[in-house]
């Protein structure tokens, strides 16, 4: 594996499967009475959030604490990035404090890449979402959820998603989740189709390793999993689509549409869901919808990623480290 986790595209098939398998081991910790491993004791991890995301921050924090790391939460929201000094200055402050890893969420695409590659710090960098670029742990937890549901918890160990047909629907243009998922799912052997109005697909998408369609209805019967992406209502005012109702009619997932999907197929959403426009309550609350599992799986995935980037080569769970370094 690379030293940092910046983009899902950085992961090889074997890296990704190793993370998914390790996450299965981590998931077992959640079933124990004491949900904690000593693995990262004495290590300091900073959650550096320049952009609000309580869900992602709490998920990382839970993962870090279950691995016994010392956790510092640094919320830089509102600090000016107009001069750009905040990221570098903040990074160097953290470096001076002897931080081992930085989990960074930033509104600007490429900020984690700069943090990892500019010589500002030595710490391991984990991208927790940057601009409209990447959100690799989200893609990993999505793949983890798919593997469990479509192959099985134990049956899935060691396996990728070869031949699975995954459809992502909605605002691909502004979605780091879509970019990360296309990269990772392709690496794992899945066939990906993106469905959106043309205004919400980036120019240049023809080089991505996936299919593109404007028509949801014809795609649904061929899907093993359908992932609905978040669509912000503001996009309507910027003329990406005419009205909320029209969007909903053409690209929303309701009960009728869900019925066109194969019986085994699942419905996913990175959350938080906008009920009504992109997904109806009926679908969101059905047992085919994996939103709640995705949240739980997020902790296991983040434990696996932090363990593999910081913990070294020893097995994480079966032989936990007893001595401190």
């Amino acid at each position: 594996m690379q030293r940092h986790l910046i983009s899902a595209a950085d992961l090889t098939r074997d890296d990704a499967v190793l993370i998914l398998d390790t996450a299965e081991e981590m998931a077992r910790v959640a079933d124990r009475p004491i949900k904690k491993l000593p693995t990262l004791r004495g290590r300091t991890i900073v959650n550096l959030f320049f952009e609000d995301s309580t869900r992602t921050r709490i998920s990382f924090e839970a993962a870090e604490k279950r691995l016994s790391a010392d956790v510092i939460n640094f919320t830089a929201k509102g600090s000016s990035v107009s001069k750009g000094e905040s990221l570098k200055d903040t990074a160097q402050t953290l470096e001076a404090m002897g931080v081992d890893a930085v989990v960074i969420r930033h509104g600007a695409s490429g900020a984690p890449y700069r943090l990892a590659n500019s010589g500002w710090i030595d710490a391991v960098v984990v991208n927790a979402g940057d601009g409209t670029h990447q959100h690799p742990t989200q893609a990993l937890l999505d793949a983890f959820t798919m593997r469990r549901r479509l192959i099985g918890r134990d049956a899935g160990l060691g396996r990728d998603l070869e031949g699975k047909r995954i459809t992502l629907v909605g605002d691909v243009l502004h979605s780091r989740v879509a970019r990360s998922n296309v990269d990772l799912l392709h690496t794992l052997g899945a066939e990906v189709t993106l469905v959106a109005p043309p205004t919400l697909l980036p120019v240049g998408i023809e080089t991505w390793p996936c299919e593109v369609s404007y028509d949801l209805d014809s795609t649904l019967p061929k899907s093993d999993a359908v992932m609905m992406l978040r669509v912000q209502r503001e996009r309507m005012n910027a003329a990406f689509f005419p009205t909320e109702r029209e969007y909903s009619r053409r690209y929303g997932l309701d009960g009728d549409r869900m019925a066109r999907m194969p019986e085994h197929a699942i419905v996913m959403h990175p959350g938080p869901m906008v009920r009504g426009m992109e997904i109806t309550a009926e679908v969101a609350d059905s047992d085919r919808c994996t939103v709640v599992e995705q949240v739980a799986n997020g902790v296991s995935i983040r434990m696996a990623v932090l363990y593999l980037l910081l913990g070294g080569n020893e097995p994480a769970v079966t032989h936990p480290r007893t001595e401190e370094k």
Binding site: V81, S82, K83, G84, E85, L87, K88, H106, G107, A108, S109, G110, A111, Y113, R114, N117, S118, D130, G131, T132, H133, Q134, R176, R179, P202, V203, G204, I205, T207, W208
Partner: protein, 428 residues
Amino acid sequence: MSKILIRGAKVLGGEPQDVLIDGGTIAEVGSGLSGEGAEVVEADGKVLLPGLVDLHTHLREPGREDSETVLTGTRAAASGGYTTVFAMANTFPVADTAGVVEQVWRLGKEHGYCDVQPIGAVTVGLEGRKLAELGAMHESAAGVTVFSDDGKCVHDAVIMRRALEYVKAFGGVVAQHAQEPRLTEGAEMNEGIVSAELGLGGWPAVAEESIIARDVLLADHVGSRVHICHLSTAGSVEIVRWAKSRGIAVTAEVTPHHLLLTDELVRTYNPVYKVNPPLRTERDVMALREALADGTIDIVATDHAPHPHEDKDCEWAAAAMGMVGLETALSVVQETMVDTGLLDWAGVADRMSVKPAQIGRATGHGRPVSAGEPANLTLVDSAYRGLVEPAGFASRSRNTPYEGRELPGRVTHTWLRGKATLVDGKLT
């Protein structure tokens, strides 16, 4: 002023000749000229060109003297072989009055490294609403002939029309930064395959091309001259080619970096590659080289845009746009145009000195290297190859995309009206 004999220089890349300078003027060009009473410079087959003229330089003074000043910028210009630079108007205060342009012009005169010809703003404060006092700037001591809101596009079609019409009265030209503002909201790089992957806001080629198309039609309609700044796409080339074929009075410039670099470099997220217009694709780069070679694009202009370290040592989104260019321009042109066989040295003289001087009405520059002409000259060691070392730049800023890159050619001497400003690669 004393005599200087440049011995054995390939004038415009031709056969070695001797050039005798007497005072501010070229006294004689020939072979076996006597060096008696003259300081002799052994050219050893280096290439002698008319002093370069940059129609597009940002000197930052007044207002951002931490990035560049007229002094440091003109020293950088002399280092790069330039004897005239046109200073863009986007300073603080904006160069939209006779007072500001005279100040910049006078500073250039005082420092003496390079003639500084201020460019006046088209509109007050570059705000695109109200015409600046174009006539007053022209009548000032600075004698402004080029007007531009560079950094911003004169996007209002009526304002652009009026500016084009108005400057006809004194032979001026409007230099347009072609960028349709609505199509480039949130734009951070060229819109295409790379921007889609990186999740950076796209700057579509059509945002440039649509403005160029409109402006050549306006120039045609009112019978005026329009100049297109830093043209960057293959489509823009096609529009300018079409306009010229119709006899429309349009001229265009390309920057050295758009002749060499592509948007693939943005994958590094290194803000040194952040520039406006953005780096485009390989296909665009090749079209620009062809167009410069065949004369569709008239000139090379640097768009020298100095920024202090902290404005680039940050994340991409927060970084300032622009790169320095005066000290590397000739090397990049040699690499992309001369060493590729697209242009000979006479062609370089035309695109980097003769034509820019004509467009900007800089009389006394861009003249032939022959007896009786002003001794504005540049001597280039075209055989040289070396790594670009920004630490040695005369510019106050170091935001070059070429750090550590090997480029050919080196300017060793520059003379401004017979006075050496650069000798053996060192500023005087």
